[in-house]
């Protein structure tokens, strides 16, 4: 993985239409983005389609990337997650029962490799999440990592949808206050 600063340079080159820089950006980020979308979509064909849409959008919008607002990988993951979640919401027939065993590891187990590169922002976020109730923390993590809707979370947690909504928003407000930003 390249450093955040190297990714910023690549992004600036991509914004100018540099195809070689785009290929390096793809090589450095493809496995992260594919992991994100595959976990949400659970189907290789859909994940592949979203990867194409995501990198097309990155190619076309690199000029809008602002390093003052986000790191390149965070910006790219946000694009990929939004595409994946839009697609999965459209496919209402996809149910949580189709959950693949491949992804059955606990959602709140950090990737041991990624742990070494934990940023200060992530450490602060995790400290704030640690202050939430166990159940609400799991709710937020399931939502983030699996891209589940309130309805899916309600089925999983066996609670009414309105309760899930209130819990989610309370948890997010608590996180916002804890982060103080």
């Amino acid at each position: 993985m390249l450093s955040a600063q190297e990714l910023v340079w690549l992004m600036a080159a991509v914004a100018k239409g540099d195809r070689a820089a785009f290929e390096r950006l793809y090589a450095a980020t493809r496995a992260k983005l594919y992991g994100v979308v595959l976990r949400i979509l659970r189907r290789q064909d859909l994940a592949d389609e979203v990867m194409q849409e995501t990198y097309l959008k990155i190619w076309n919008s690199a000029g809008q990337f602002d390093p003052a607002l986000a790191s390149p990988i965070t910006w790219m993951v946000a694009i990929a997650r939004n595409r994946a979640i839009d697609l999965v919401r459209k496919k209402t027939e996809v149910s949580i029962e189709e959950e693949s065993d491949v992804f059955d590891f606990a959602a709140d187990t950090p990737d041991p490799l990624a742990k070494r590169e934990m940023t200060e922002e992530l450490q602060r976020l995790l400290a704030c999440m640690a202050r939430l109730d166990e159940e609400r923390r799991r709710l937020v993590l399931f939502a983030y990592y699996h891209g589940w809707s309130r309805e899916q979370l309600a089925a999983k947690f066996e609670k009414p949808v309105n309760t899930i909504k209130t819990w989610l928003r309370r948890a997010l407000l608590d996180i916002r206050e804890c982060l103080g930003a």
Partner: protein
């Protein structure tokens, strides 16, 4: 019942977390394109939660994915040259285009019809415009405003979005209609709930001599207006207006108070075959 989490910031947070349903996502995406304050809230949440991805396992994509991405780039229209200049990039972005609607919409329909179904959805254009004042009966006409925008947002085929507003900077309500199921939802965005008064939503169509009430909106963050009894052509062609009425709604069945917000549904992409 409303509670203190029913705020634009709560909506932005759930949009970023990814827990909204298709309707609410379409509404949030319409807001991102129309309401700079809401777009800022979304960016802040992306910053707060964005680092969570670092804990996710990486997975190598299939080796031919890169070739497909390159083919998509080569097949797509050349990028606007202005994209390379940061100060003009925002202007060149599809999200910010302000275009003449009628001619462009037809062109976009041809373009999207030529793409695969999935691509059409993902690259769909939602055209959103504020007001057709002349569609309203004289007494109901708001101050004339012409705002026509296209927003790139992935929405379901057959889904319509309208922004009900008084001016471009302040969307008051967002109306989403799924034509296939004739279900609709209205989200209160910036409209303040006035004490002792109610907001009432009206359907204004040249098929009817007078506006038809679709029920009260705005008492909570969400309302589900009653559209099921209208045919799709009426629903998609109508102008929607929100008036300020005595508490509980208009006593006469017709608007009695000022029309505060109006908007028109615009089809985003061709409905599914």
């Amino acid at each position: 019942m409303t509670d203190d989490t029913d705020t634009p910031d709560g909506l932005a947070a759930e949009y970023v977390l990814g827990t909204l349903g298709a309707d609410e996502r379409a509404q949030a995406e319409a807001l991102i394109g129309n309401d700079p304050a809401f777009a800022r809230l979304v960016r802040r949440w992306e910053r707060r939660l964005g680092e969570l991805h670092a804990m996710m396992h990486s997975v190598e994509p299939p080796p031919d994915t890169w070739a497909r991405i390159q083919a998509r780039i080569d097949g797509a229209a050349p990028r606007a040259a202005t994209l390379a200049q940061p100060d003009q990039a925002v202007v060149a972005a599809p999200e910010a285009n302000v275009v003449a609607l009628s001619a462009r919409l037809h062109r976009w329909r041809r373009v999207t019809a030529g793409l695969g179904a999935l691509a059409a959805v993902l690259a769909a254009l939602v055209a959103i415009q504020a007001v057709y004042p002349t569609a309203l009966p004289g007494p109901l006409r708001p101050k004339p405003i012409e705002i026509v925008k296209t927003i790139e947002t992935p929405v379901n085929p057959g889904r319509f979005v309208a922004v009900l507003q008084q001016n471009a900077a302040a969307p008051a309500f967002i109306l989403t209609v799924d034509v296939a199921t004739r279900t609709a939802s209205v989200r209160r965005v910036s409209a303040e709930q006035p004490a002792g008064k109610s907001y009432e939503l009206w359907l204004v169509s040249d098929r009817f001599p007078a506006p038809r009430s679709l029920g009260l909106v705005g008492a909570s963050e969400f309302a589900r207006p009653a559209l099921a009894s209208y045919d799709p052509a009426t629903v998609s062609g109508a102008t929607y207006a929100v008036s300020l009425e005595p508490e509980g709604g208009s006593p006469t069945g017709a608007p009695t108070g000022p029309i505060l917000f109006t908007g028109k549904l615009v089809e985003s992409v061709p409905p599914s075959p």
